[in-house]
């Protein structure tokens, strides 16, 4: 069944006049997969391919799953909170007197 490999997008499943194959009623389940593939390859706007369609029709591997890898850089220990060691290019002046 074509719906295993393609899904309708943008419109409800129903009738569309297609550029090369005339009227197709996409509410039917018996549409040829070859026709769907042709339409998909010709940028028909209402068909998207499923993961299974990518695999079966184009031999594509499933999308890679991103897993956590080893850190590239070593984490540095947090800086000690000691305001006396703060240094800037411009000396910090106390604005208000206590």
């Amino acid at each position: 069944m074509w719906t295993k490999y393609f899904k309708m997008i943008g419109i409800r499943r129903g009738r569309v006049i297609t550029p090369r194959h005339g009227e197709i009623d996409f509410s039917r389940d018996d549409i040829s997969i070859e026709i769907c593939q042709q339409l998909y390859e010709e940028d028909f706007p209402y068909l998207a391919i499923t993961e299974e369609g990518k695999k079966e029709l184009y031999g594509a591997e499933p999308d890679l799953v991103v897993s956590e890898s080893d850190p590239v850089f070593e984490h540095l220990p947090p800086a000690e909170e000691n305001p006396d060691e703060l240094k800037t290019s411009i000396p910090i002046k106390r604005k208000y007197k206590k």
Partner: protein
Amino acid sequence: MSIEFTDINKNLPNGENMGGINQKVYFGFHADVASWPTKPVNPLTLEANATLTGDLTMKTGKRMFELYITDDTGEFNIETVGEVDAKSFVQHLNFFHPGLQKKILGFMNAAKNDNLVFIVVDAEGQKYLMGDSMRPATYQGAPDGNGTGKETAARKGMSAEFTYKTANNHVYGGSIPLTESVSG
């Protein structure tokens, strides 16, 4: 770069060159169109200069519709208009729909003063889109009359003419959605 001229030979694939249009025309409200196919921009060939790219899509909940016309009554005609150095085209669609049923009367009531879009398919399956993002197709009148006719053998029904003004003539190669658009 500019467009390049080429030889224009007799080109009738399979010897086909039937006149007239299909027995169905497709219509919708101009305001219901979500996106329009694009017109050629700096085309390099004559064919590209007459080809629309992409599809006409409709807004959510909207669709195109079909209208039956009596065979040999439908005509798509291109009229050249304008003064020297200001030439353009008016595309005409004429047809006759049999009967005076409420649906066709209601259609004419709704269409007569509104902005529409039509897609006309000729006998070879070539499609013409009457309407663009700037201009709609509009009702002009009933060239073959509307009504019952006089004799019992007369043809009862509605005739109609719609026109669309355009700078250039193009062929539409996209699809026609006869089912409602949905979001997402």
